[in-house]
Amino acid sequence: MVDLFHILSMGASSLDAQTGAAATNANNLENVDTPGYARQMARLEPSLPSELVGNTYVGNGATLGQVTQARDRFVEAQLPVAFGNAASSDATAKVLGAVSVLDPQGSGGLSSALSGFYSAFSALSQNASDPSLRQAAVAAAGALALSFQQTRGSLESARSGADQSVAGDVSEVNSLASQVASLNGQIRAASASGAQPNDLLDARQKAIDQLAQLTGATVVPTSEGDASLFLPGGAALVSSLQAATLSAVPDPSNNGHLALNLSLGGTTSSVSPGGELGGLLSARDGGLGSAVSGLDTLAWDLAGAINTVHQAGVDLDGNAGQALFTVSSAAGAAAQIAVNPAIVGDTDLLATRTTGGTGDASNVLALLATSSTPLSGGQDASATLAQITSAFGAAAQSASAASEADDAIKTQLVTMRQSTSSVSTDDELVEMQKTQQAYAAIAKVISTTDSMLDTLVQIT
């Protein structure tokens, strides 16, 4: 049997439910700008069980069921990959785009030094015994060697800069991986009651998003509600409650540049992450690494070709020519190349002639011919340098184009996520209005019931 007190009691619990809904709206509005916050929805449900009155059921009012997050699983499943790809191509594009040492129209670059070298020897060919022209030729050779060193140094500096970013990212990755593992535990505990710990879920999702950007890690949810994270290639970064440790170690086989190892449960393995880390490594060992090795090969080949000709000539004193450039090995040749100090100290040692007098420039002409000598790659020096520049440009352009495409995909998915998960003040205010109206109506029910009780009391 339904009595008036029951209606009052029902009204009180329904007011509680509406208050909960209003609090959820308020919380949403207060987090309208909070990064990583997913709007929450209060689900009101009829109170069960209904009361059997006679042969029919009369409802028991409303109660607050659950407060859930608004998340689109379809979009959420795609976001880690999109975050990883966008961060990867963006990192590569930024690293390669910041390199200006190979700019084709920049002043004082390697191409200027190369043409300056041959120009100086061209001038020397006209008057091989002229001391000032000999001095200028040796100076131009020095400028060429210095330009090789500076160009390689700038490229190596960019590679070291990428290493520093990698080292910084590794610390962040370890911190975030620990957070995710810890949050897995907290969420597991908080979910035991059956309620969703929305703020913990937000915190974990935010950390997962950052890890996806940094490493390209993808999420695999477990039956316990944990989020395990796996790097491209399958290595576990977070396995339920356990976080792996990423470490950056110098790699002797790569000029001491950093390589990444992942340790989990006593096992350490080499990993190649995606995301920003992958992009940094790709720029370092791809576009930049190729340019450095191309320069080394060019320096080695060019020095070899010039030295061969120079040593076949005769200096002003009638002695056989020495090596014009000193360079000890093909690896790192562009960093080592220098003009023979003996020749720098005495320009008479320039082997400009072969059999003639001091004005004989036949060996200078032979040295000039090295400008069109095919080097190991089948092209002459300037074509080889052009090829290095083009290849670097293609890598930079490709990274830039990939960055734009990946960013567009990421932006679209983020927009779709926001469409579902972020807070709309308009929506929340409408909801607040609705809750306010409902609250007022329930209050009216209580007031009316109270009047009914008064009437009943007066009768009795």
């Binding site: 309208v32 700008d33 390199v99 190979l102 700019d103 084709p104 129209q105 191409s111 200027s112 190369l114 043409s115 300056g116 041959y118 120009s119 061209s122 001038a123 060919s125 006209q126 008057n127 002229d130 003639g356 007098g357 001091t358 004005g359 004989d360 420039a361 036949s362 002409l365 000039l368 011919a369 400008s371 069109s372 300037s382 340098l385 052009a386 090829q387 520049t389 083009s390 670097f392 440009g393 293609a394 890598a395 930079a396 352009q397 830039s400 932006t411 983020v414 927009t415 926001q418 469409s419 579902t420 972020s422 807070v423 709309s424 003040t425 308009d426 929506d427 205010l429 409408v430 209005q433």
Partner: protein, 305 residues
């Protein structure tokens, strides 16, 4: 699609930043005048710019070297012209004083003049451009011909005009991989190396025959002097040919350098009209974007309730 506040502000940020980025890029292109700044702007053009840049400087340097060589050949041609004039005068003296009308005193005067001519010719043959003796072949650091040497009796010594230079020519690059003679064989022109007339020896004979009042000896030099004049004239013609080649090389290399410069401009420079148009469009786009953003900020239910 549900549009939320975050989407709205994010769009404002992203679109505003994109419009500003386009304006920055358009401004950079318009102000620098360069289409290709970094290799990534156009990898193919960047590589071609490197090659063309090296090529342009290289042929520019060749033009400069060929021009300097042409200056030396011009100096050599001038010197040969003066030598030719001196030889013509010696020839006149020989023809005149081989005549029996003249006596010892006239021939002694002639001998003195011929000695002076020898000295002048050797001086011309030791012409320097800068610090370089241009008639010494590759041995260009010392004077190629010994000067006039007189014996104790006042006659011209046989060592006069001994050639100390090299029996070769200097060469200069006139195009990548192409060399051209840039000096003349003075030993051939003046000492008859290779079968010609030894001009210096003939002049020595003339001077000494005049000193000895030997009319027959004087007459014997007339024919050789005439050949010597032709020989020097031939050398001068060779200088002219050489000069033509060098001048052509200078012009060709300057033209090639200019062409390379144009190719560099075509590859790397921005089209002025296009960049100005892009700049105006980018300015307009940013203005529109900012206007749209500022307008959309005005509408919210917060202000209506």
């Amino acid at each position: 699609m549900r549009v939320t506040d975050t989407m709205f502000y994010d769009r404002a940020e992203v679109d505003g930043a994109a419009a500003r980025s386009r304006l920055d890029q358009a401004t950079a292109t318009a102000s620098s005048g360069l289409r290709v700044v970094q290799p990534g702007d156009d990898p193919g053009a960047a590589g071609a710019l490197v090659s063309e840049g090296v090529n342009m400087q290289r042929i520019g340097a060749i033009a400069t070297a060929a021009g300097r060589a042409a200056d030396e050949v011009t100096a050599a041609s001038d010197a040969l012209g003066q030598i030719q004039t001196s030889l013509a005068r010696a020839s006149e003296i020989a023809v005149q004083l081989s005549s029996s009308q003249y006596g010892a005193s006239e021939r002694a005067g002639g001998a003195a003049e011929v000695q002076a001519l020898i000295s002048t010719i050797l001086s011309d043959a030791n012409t320097k451009v800068g610090d370089r003796y241009i008639f010494g072949g590759t041995a260009d650091s010392a004077q190629p011909f010994d000067g006039l040497a007189l014996a104790a009796d006042g006659t011209v010594d046989a060592s006069t005009g001994t050639y100390r230079g090299a029996a070769d020519t200097r060469q200069v690059e006139i195009a990548p991989g192409v060399a051209q003679d840039a000096s003349l064989r003075a030993d051939v022109a003046l000492r008859g190396v290779g079968g010609g007339v030894d001009v210096i020896a003939t002049l020595t004979s003339l001077a000494n025959a005049l000193s000895a009042n030997n009319a027959a000896g004087v007459a014997a030099t007339v024919g050789q002097l005439s050949q010597g004049v032709s020989q020097v004239s031939t050398a001068q013609s060779q200088a002219g040919t050489c000069l033509d080649t060098l001048d052509t090389a200078v012009s060709a290399n300057q033209a090639a350098s200019s062409d390379a410069q144009k190719r560099i401009a075509n590859l790397g420079d921005a089209d002025e009209i296009q960049s100005a148009s892009d700049l105006a469009l980018a300015q307009h786009a940013l203005d529109t974007s900012l206007t749209a953003i500022s307008q959309s900020f005005k509408f919210s239910l917060v202000d209506k309730l």
